[in-house]
Symmetry: C2
Subunit: 466 residues, 2 copies
């Protein structure tokens, strides 16, 4: 067999590829029919039981064919995602918030007086000692190329402070210094899953987990928590986590609901993950902001497939310094650092020196947390005057997440509020499709401004829903 043999094999490869496409097209037709049928019957589109059965058959077939389960799963996920797309109608609204943010910033620049309660950014800014530490480091020339994983001394300091705080045993090699918490979640998804893999995201939650996962073809499945259950995610997770789940993203204290996870709840989540050998990425950037309940971290349990996401943004008011971190196994940390290195080389050393200084400023964190607690109390008592909304008092974080009882779309309401009352809030749709009647109010501004903002919100609600 020589060159001719090669040509024959290639032709065969081509024929098989086109046959796969034809089958995929036929599959889509059938999916569309199923979608129509389900709609007529008032059934939900996502049928996890049917999907699980198909998945089991696919796995069995992969084994029989010696195909490798990974390839089989990736193919199946692409096909299933396509089916759902064929069945699905409306799209997500993760960027509804971003549009309000951009508009509010623009109005401010034009000189309008806007009360900004949409952005998750405390107004207090970095402690002066931190600013000066940065300036000193820059003057001393800490502004060179360095490690993609972060400065050794900062990683060691975070490892030892976190170990002490949580009663665990970490090393610097477990830590990656990242461009804020946002890069930390991105790197976790990138390094721990592959295109076509399934990522479960608890909702309501921070708006960017989903677009981050979808950016490179992960399949997102939402676990939707409900206010009626005190925002506990357990039931929702039990419903959707399964054989296909490769990674679960949780975020407690929760943005936007303020829910704090109990020890039992964290344990249940980790057991569920362990049952299906899935990773748990736990975004704990609000772990210092707890008013009711105790700080529970994913690192305090024995399950090893976990990533903690931390940040200097919220506790120290250092949002614009763009520095956060992740803590995980040393092998995974190395892989994530490698990806970060390919995208940004490294974080500025002078910013890492500033963060090192921040770690000494426990008093600033305490003051900030106390201040946000007071603001949230004011917000709750002001918003509590309206009978048009209901909400659960936040146990942590820095937001209130009310539901408008009447039929009122919160994206429309947010735009009306911004234009007529000059108050910016984040529409609930940004935190998940099920929360279109909710909106998020942030405690990032001084208390008197928040009081005035809340009054205007109550006023607007009265005008809108009577």
């Amino acid at each position: 067999m020589a060159g001719d043999g090669l040509q024959e094999l290639r032709d065969e490869l081509g024929r098989i590829t086109l046959e796969i496409l034809r089958l995929a097209a036929r599959r889509r037709e059938i999916s569309e029919k199923i979608g129509e049928l389900k709609e007529r019957m008032g059934m939900s589109l996502l049928d996890r039981a049917a999907e699980a059965r198909l998945r089991a058959r696919v796995l069995e077939e992969c084994r029989r064919l010696g195909l490798g389960e990974e390839l089989g799963m990736r193919l199946l996920n692409i096909l299933v995602e396509d089916s759902l797309e064929a069945q699905r109608k409306a799209g997500g609204d993760e960027f509804a918030y971003r549009k309000i943010f951009v508009k509010a910033a623009e109005m401010l620049r034009r000189g309008e007086k806007i009360i900004r309660m949409e952005v998750g950014e405390p107004d207090f800014g970095a402690p002066p000692s931190v600013i000066e530490a940065m300036c000193q480091a820059a003057r001393q020339g800490y502004a060179k190329y360095s490690s993609g994983q972060g400065l050794g001394e900062l990683r060691e300091a975070i490892a030892s402070k976190t170990s002490e705080k949580l009663g665990v045993d970490l090393r610097g090699e477990n830590v990656v210094i990242t461009v804020g918490g946002v890069m930390a979640t991105y790197l976790s998804i990138e390094a721990l899953t592959r295109p076509g893999d399934e990522v479960v995201v608890v909702e309501p939650g921070w708006p960017l987990y989903k677009p981050q996962a979808r950016l490179h073809g992960r399949r997102v499945v939402e676990a939707v928590a409900r206010m009626e259950d005190g925002w506990s995610p357990i039931e929702a997770l039990e419903k959707v986590v399964g054989e296909a789940t490769r990674l679960i993203v949780i975020n407690y204290p929760n943005n936007p609901t303020g829910k704090v996870l109990t020890r039992d709840e964290m344990e249940e989540i980790l057991e569920l993950a362990e049952r299906y050998d899935a990773w748990v990425v736990s975004d704990e950037v609000y772990l210092d902001y707890i008013y009711d309940g105790e700080a529970v971290s994913v690192l305090q349990f024995s399950y090893p497939k976990t990533v903690l996401i931390g940040s200097f943004s919220k506790a120290w008011g250092m949002t614009g310094y763009r520095i956060g971190y992740l803590i995980t196994g040393s092998e995974e940390a190395g892989r994530m650092a490698h990806i970060q290195n390919l995208i940004i080389t490294n974080l500025p050393e002078f910013i890492q020196k500033a963060a090192l200084k921040a770690l000494e400023e426990d008093e600033a964190v305490k003051r900030n947390v106390e201040e946000i607690r007071r603001r949230l109390e004011t917000l709750c008592s002001e918003l509590g005057r309206s009978r048009a909304i209901e909400f659960q008092r936040p146990q942590g974080a820095m937001y209130v997440f009310p539901r408008i009882k009447a039929q009122l779309d919160s994206v429309e309401f947010a735009w009306k509020l911004l234009e007529e009352k000059k108050v910016a809030v984040a529409p609930g749709a940004s935190f998940g499709q099920s929360f279109r009647s909710y909106f998020r109010v942030s405690a990032g501004r001084p208390v008197e401004e928040l009081r005035e903002g809340a009054r205007r919100i109550v006023e607007a609600l009265e005008e809108s829903v009577g």
Copy 2:
């Protein structure tokens, strides 16, 4: 048709899915056979013409079937990647340089006196006025969440300065402020190509274009320039650019050869790109560093599908500030900013304020360029003493790239040099597999240190090859 109809459709969906898997398994068997056959015939695994034909047929079939090119491409990419995995063996050596960098940094930390000529980092640091501008901005609270595209005033300033310098007409909306040039090339590849697309990279070139492209499944094809042609890339590009090419990365003044592109050469590259409707990403971070020839930018020609990559790292000595930019069409700029926003939110505002100040510091740039020119002259005359190597005098940038005439692997040579002579250089293999007998020497250190380093290199060459 009721519940039963649904069950029938689901069964059909399951049958089709399993049939697709069987075809995928058959496809892998054939790929393995092709791999064996190619190996026996001494052929390269990558057959671009065959792949381009298959890709074209798949696209045609998608259209015919109304399948949506996205799904078709996603399926094809998973299948092609799987075929290559079944065929593939050894990997590249882009990280040989990084290993030397890490080792040299570690030796320095341990107190050893190392002459670091491996890293592309000028030693002069940011101008003092830039450092102070940053400190002032941080104290004034320019440390909040802001635009993923960058501060408007900085984008406007870059647009107007570049317009004036190159005789073109740019707006702030054409500019994205990025985390160094590294993020700018990454975003360009991400936004302008898709998994499975072909990216042509000129070699020798900056080591990270290839791993950046491969990170999310782009197919990399190298256009290998030769010293014998005065490092002109034209012939090499003509050989590989074709129907499958979606994007070409060029880098002039070139790292590592110091080659400066002529106006005619740039024109030929753009004509070639236009013939195949490919994007040209032109990394021009060394555009201020020219000693022989004139500054030619990709923006000075009429072809619209281009991206200029710029940086504050080299001209102002601001490597560790991690700030660069890209200039392209406003629609593409918006898409790239969106991706950057998903990964890092935004760059620190105080760093952007520092960059704004740097734009006023033309004198500092002139001094830096003059200093590097002097250093390169010293390097050339010292290295010129050795008959064991040959090199072309750099016309630009900040490196010398000699070839060892004898049979000597430069990775081995670099390690020996570091361990025995305490001099770090970058092995040629990092800049492309064809350059294993080359090494790169950087002019980033003071002239006396470079002179001593060059002497030791000459000494080591004599000991190694006689």
